[in-house]
């Protein structure tokens, strides 16, 4: 008996159950799908099932055999009705026998889910009002794809066959082969940003069968995104991009394990979110995130592939995260920060530009995972899409690189523009290059003095005496709990002291961590 088959007559479930009998089995689980009298608010009187039998039988048998192998079941079968059914008739039957109940239950559940999800079977519902409609294949009921198609359209149903992922066209490449495909399947990639760059990146990595994709994006879709983020729909504006992207990834390739994080990467969550990934792709649109990922690469030795675009051009750089090769900070001036050179919103961008760079990023990522040659550390690819000229600029690890120095001193991770920074001791803060500014009043200072050399600038005199500070100085403002110092740092920032920060949690946090 074929593990999966169609029947045009009523199912004899007792006979089917007998086929599952086996003396080695201690348990039998079955599922029956019945014709019910309503669907989505319509009263239903009867049903007709139609299937693409030849394909469905092959795929259905594969589903049953996979479940037997996966759960160690002894016997399993699935029979699906076609033709006309009345209310209460059994439309689909699944039976599994196994040594123990757990395998039987689980295999049964997976078989019915996969059959509903993957097989080209449609049902035509006849409603009380005399109307009728073709519904289902379960994929049609997925968000955004639901159509209530009517009878005359069913012959042109767009979902004639729902195939399983097939990587044959890339496995055919000598450099990929089954081994390369297995490498991709076992890879885990973090994509930071699901916008202009992130969309092509996610499309190609999902298509290629990268085993696990995590997506971080704090933004919600806006109509102004769509000229370059052409994966999304106008009707989805207002929704979280991370969730939309994850849904698209699953639709493109259900084999990919996908996670969506609707949040902004910061110094406190970065290590946790990046853990467990082999490669990080920076598809963000701001320097704060880029430099944070750069610091993370140097700290963890995890490679980050950066891409950035501007109007008609862009830059691509691989930071390997070691001490020998250039990082983002080895290339760009210390003064680099958001708001100086303009992002897509400020400077404008033609849609395909991030498309090209995201595609290049996906290509480099796949090559990296497959161990193929590509962009080298110590070089930056720049591509001018007006003149179509490319350049590979050689960069060098700068001996005085601040990011490399911080990573070596294992100073805590910090985003360059973050106002607050955490340390477990003042000695750590001093070794990270901070000069201390005590903003407490004189009584507090006497009770608990800071190390010699700390400047005293009580809140009351902050603005009048700020002139004594160096505009480019790297100051750590300190108070008892971190509240006053945070306010003071904000105030000084607005006066142009770009490098001043506040000790998060104040002196109290140091006592707690001691």
């Amino acid at each position: 008996m074929s593990p999966f088959r169609f029947s045009s007559s009523a199912l004899d479930t007792l006979a089917l159950q007998r086929e599952m009998r086996d003396e080695s089995c201690g348990g039998f689980a079955s599922f029956e799908g019945w014709v019910r009298n309503h669907n989505e608010g319509h009263a239903v009187t009867r049903l007709e099932y139609e299937a693409f039998a030849e394909l469905a039988e092959k795929d259905g048998s594969r589903i049953v055999n996979e479940a037997i192998a996966r759960f160690g079941a002894t016997r399993a079968a699935c029979v699906h009705r076609v033709g006309s059914l009345g209310l209460g008739d059994v439309a689909v039957w699944v039976g599994v026998s196994a040594a123990h109940r757990d395998e039987a239950f689980r295999a049964c559940r997976v078989i019915i889910d996969e059959v509903k999800h993957r097989l080209p079977i449609w049902k035509k519902e006849h409603y009380v009002n005399g109307d009728s409609g073709w519904v289902n294949c379960e994929r049609c009921a997925m968000p955004g794809a639901h159509t209530h198609e009517h009878e005359h359209e069913h012959a042109h149903h767009p979902h004639v066959h729902v195939p399983t992922p097939d990587y044959s066209r890339q496995i055919a490449l000598r450099e990929v082969g089954p081994e390369g495909q297995a490498r991709l399947r076992s890879a885990s990639v973090l994509v930071v940003g699901a916008g202009g760059l992130g969309v092509p990146v996610l499309q190609y990595l999902a298509g290629a069968g990268v085993g696990r994709l995590s997506i971080i994006d704090a933004d919600r879709l806006e109509p102004s995104n769509l000229h370059r983020q052409t994966w999304y729909a106008l009707s989805e504006c207002g929704q979280e991009k991370s969730t939309l992207a994850a849904t698209r990834v699953s639709a493109l390739n259900p084999e990919v394990r996908v996670e969506a994080h609707a949040l902004r990467l910061d110094a406190h969550n970065a290590e946790r979110l990046c853990a467990g990934h082999d490669l990080i792709l920076d598809c963000s649109d701001n320097f704060t995130t880029k430099f944070l990922l750069n610091d993370l690469a140097l700290r963890t030795g995890k490679p980050v592939l950066f891409a950035s675009v501007y109007q008609y051009e862009g830059q691509l750089q691989l930071v390997r995260g070691d001490d020998a090769t250039a990082c983002l900070r080895c290339v760009w001036p210390e003064a680099t920060r958001d708001g100086i050179v303009g992002n897509c919103a400020e400077a404008g961008v033609l849609g395909p530009v991030p498309g090209v760079f995201g595609s290049l990023q996906a290509l480099e990522a796949l090559k990296h995972l497959l161990g193929l040659p590509g962009l080298k550390p110590d070089e930056m690819l720049i591509f001018d899409l007006i003149t179509l000229s490319t350049q590979r600029l050689r960069a060098r690890r700068q001996p005085e690189c601040e990011a490399h120095r911080r990573a070596a001193s294992s100073a805590p991770l910090q985003a360059p523009d973050e106002l607050e920074v955490q340390f477990s001791s003042l000695a750590d803060a001093a070794s990270a290059g901070f000069a201390f500014v005590d903003v407490r009043d004189s009584r507090e200072r006497e009770a608990e003095p800071l190390p010699a050399g700390a400047l005293h600038l009580p809140m009351s005199k902050l603005l009048t005496d700020a002139a004594t500070l160096d505009l480019a100085g790297r100051y750590l403002l300190i108070c008892a709990t971190g509240k006053r110092s945070a306010a003071a740092a904000g105030l000084l920032r607005s006066q142009g002291f770009a490098e001043c920060r506040s000790l998060r949690g104040g002196l109290k946090s140091l006592k707690a961590s001691a």
């Binding site: 916008g195 202009g196 963000s284 320097f287 950035s308 303009g342 897509c344 007006i386 003149t387």
Partner: protein, 87 residues
């Protein structure tokens, strides 16, 4: 006596991002007496409305990121490039 003017050299210059926008061109070949990229950029700032100070840019000479004080030779290809962050 006035210091001897440095010899004029022909140099290829490429502009990226905001600089390309402000120069209104991607590249040009020019004859200059500038001895290093710093002088060259100062000369170009007199001609184009460049808003970025050199501290915000990097210069690359013959496809290698270089220093602002690195001497220029005839035939050098000089790239002025700011960091970009669009995504």
């Amino acid at each position: 006596m006035a210091e001897l003017a440095p010899p004029e050299r022909t140099i290829r210059v490429q502009y990226y991002a905001l600089l390309r926008e402000q120069a209104g061109r991607s590249d040009e070949t020019l004859t200059t007496g500038a001895r290093d990229p710093r002088e060259l950029y100062a000369e170009l700032r007199a001609r184009y409305p460049f808003t970025l100070p050199p501290e915000m840019l990097r210069v690359a000479i013959n496809a290698e990121f270089g220093e602002w004080s690195q001497p220029l030779k005839a035939g050098d290809a000089v790239v002025f490039i700011p960091p970009v962050a669009g995504g």
